[in-house]
Symmetry: C2
């Protein structure tokens, strides 16, 4: 699949070793409308600080991304390395340094090997191709087990528009800005400010609704780039804006669910819906508390419909609940009614649901009208293996 | 070891099966001064609700405890079962029902087998003995791998006083009220109100400073009982009160550390100290955020001095930090100075420290004067195994 106005490349620069792809580039022949949403972690990686600054002008031409090294916690030297990377990229592409965005993901606290990046840049630029989005997706992976790419198109007022997304995730997927890196591309024509608004809304509805281990990265970055090549102009409060927002949200929710499904060691994708809460905030807090509970997540791994752990987690969420109004469902099977277990038949049916790869847990608090949905995965032996051995 | 005024018993009533001890009793021949601290979970187990009510009068004679069943989320039937258990115990001991406290720990959402408890009570009462505290400690265990008992004595004004503690913990050890069940006994003479005050303070300094998996139980209970048999009267703001408080805190910190050490699947006890914070609350929040991070806990399991995960976790704690003032130590080895890694030699030394069974991580924020200490354990394959298989 291609998206008009963008070319991609991804290859091995020797940062990760073993010939794994680890350097990736997105490039456009003309200036792009650009916006970003970044980690709220107090400790931000060098490339995040640079992109936040460069995106103030709302335009960009290229994004250079490396995996294998986060370039975080490196002080001033980290900033210099990131700037140097963008300078080398700008030279290679013959564009301005401030038109280049930089992203890094991987191990924290080690200097970025800029020499290796510099040596690989000519090949990387030469291999830029409108059909190479999968190479790009592969080169930004860290502990991901599959590349994450998603396309969606729609006829809008004035013609067809396309939104494409590429993301990498896996571990450290926190309730805020759940992916390490995501790049959302469109051929629609949209001003940076409106693009940023659409991006912020879509992040809230997608990446901020997923959680793998509750940790928050220093590098979380979502960048949106618009080429305008479709010729379809997206104006605020237009029908086209509605179409565009729908596409963007669709692509980002799909990417978010791919990230959870590929959560470190995960074997199940679990949708957690909290209904009947007193406020939207309480519904989301409850859903995220359940989604982040190690005890609940290991019970899902054990395929055990252990509703007691869900109830205990809910009770500790700091939200208003009434125990004797609580209903609980696994998919369509009701296991708990008015705070009480429905008996062995319901338990057997729920146990069957627990064996599925994808399932939904619905908690109805029955005390209000607000709801929230988040996605999480189970906590498994492989999560421990991957994370205990990560640096060694 | 014995503590004047208390007798203990523990045996198998067939609640857990396989002949494991699961029913326990503490009894006194005369009324005890009594106080309790309970879970803040919105969903409270039936015995917690009953004890909260009965402790209002500040006195008790006996505590009946079962493991294998939490008697939580059972609605009115759960309350009836807990009341029935206390009635049967009172009959057997020939004391008033409202002099009996009840505690339960184990699986949530299943009816308490009161018949089995009733059938076992005569044997339990017959076996009451001042030297049987270890039988009691064994019978309250769930996933604990060893019984937890601690004694401490001190010469106070007027004579020697002793504080003894028995606890069970392992999983679901949350930042608030970190143990499932703990019983703190003393032969000092102290009014219920002052006993409650001392208990509350000691809980803050001990059980509320430990975390295994960040979950909060429906059953968390710490009960303090004073027999007065030492004849030493503890008055508020006296030197004796200082001695008593010191003993109580010592016993409870020891129990708290035993609980972390016995955390489900844990192989390491890690003391996390945060210094130089802007406030005590921020110090404690930072310490608990690090202590609850799955990524940090798996890194400890992997014996990897992965300070990047610690920094990332700290940055997400929602407290004030300044990256370039951050110092980090493993025991006495400084790995990070002013936010930067100190190099391979420090890394090698820190890696050696990581191999220890007990170690301390010190984070100095260098922006304020407040500090906090919490204890946690590593996150291991066995945690997953234990919790994925718990009910099956």
């Amino acid at each position: 699949m291609v998206i008009d106005g963008f070319r991609f490349a991804g290859l091995s620069a020797g940062i990760k070793g073993k010939g794994h792809k680890d350097l990736a580039l997105i490039c456009s022949d003309s200036p792009l409308s650009a916006a970003g949403v970044f980690t709220t972690n107090k400790i931000k990686a060098a490339p995040v600080l640079i992109d936040m600054e460069r995106l103030k002008k709302g335009t960009a031409r290229a994004v250079i991304v490396n995996s294998g090294n986060a370039n975080a916690c490196n002080g001033d030297a980290g900033i210099e390395d990131a700037v140097k990377t963008s300078e080398m990229t700008a030279d290679e592409l013959n564009i301005g340094t401030d038109e280049v965005l930089v992203s890094s993901t991987g191990v924290i606290g080690q200097r970025l090997p800029v020499d290796k990046i510099g040596a690989a840049l000519p090949d990387l630029a030469r291999s830029l191709n409108s059909e190479s989005i999968n190479d790009f997706a592969e080169a930004i992976m860290t502990t991901d087990s599959f590349p994450k790419v998603c396309f969606a198109s729609k006829e809008a007022e004035g013609g067809k528009i396309t939104v494409a997304g590429v993301a990498k995730g896996a571990g450290m997927i926190a309730p805020n800005m759940a992916t390490l890196l995501a790049f959302i591309l469109t051929d629609a024509s949209i001003e940076p400010e409106l693009l940023g608004k659409a991006l912020k809304y879509s992040v809230t509805e997608s990446f901020n609704c997923i959680t793998v281990d509750g940790d928050m990265s220093t590098n979380d970055t979502v960048i949106a780039l618009a080429s305008g090549k479709s010729g379809v102009k997206i104006a605020e409060e237009s029908i086209s804006y509605g179409s565009f927002l729908g596409l963007m949200k669709e692509v980002m929710i799909k990417l978010a669910k791919m990230i959870v499904k590929d959560g470190e060691g995960a074997t199940k994708l679990i949708e957690i819906r909290v209904k009947g809460a007193l406020s939207a905030e309480e519904a989301k807090r409850a859903a995220l508390t359940i989604a982040n509970s190690s005890l609940v997540k290991t019970a899902f791994y054990g395929e055990d419909a252990n509703w007691g752990r869900i109830a205990a987690s809910l009770g500790g969420a700091g939200i208003e609940i009434s125990e004797n109004r609580l209903d609980l469902y696994f998919d369509e099977v009701q296991l708990v009614s008015g705070g009480l277990h429905k008996g062995p038949e319901a338990e057997n049916k729920a146990s069957e649901i627990m064996k599925k790869d994808e399932l939904a847990l619905t908690v109805d608090l029955n005390i209000g009208t607000h709801h929230a949905t988040v996605w999480t995965c189970d906590l498994t032996h492989d999560y421990i293996r991957i994370n205990a051995e990560y640096r060694s």
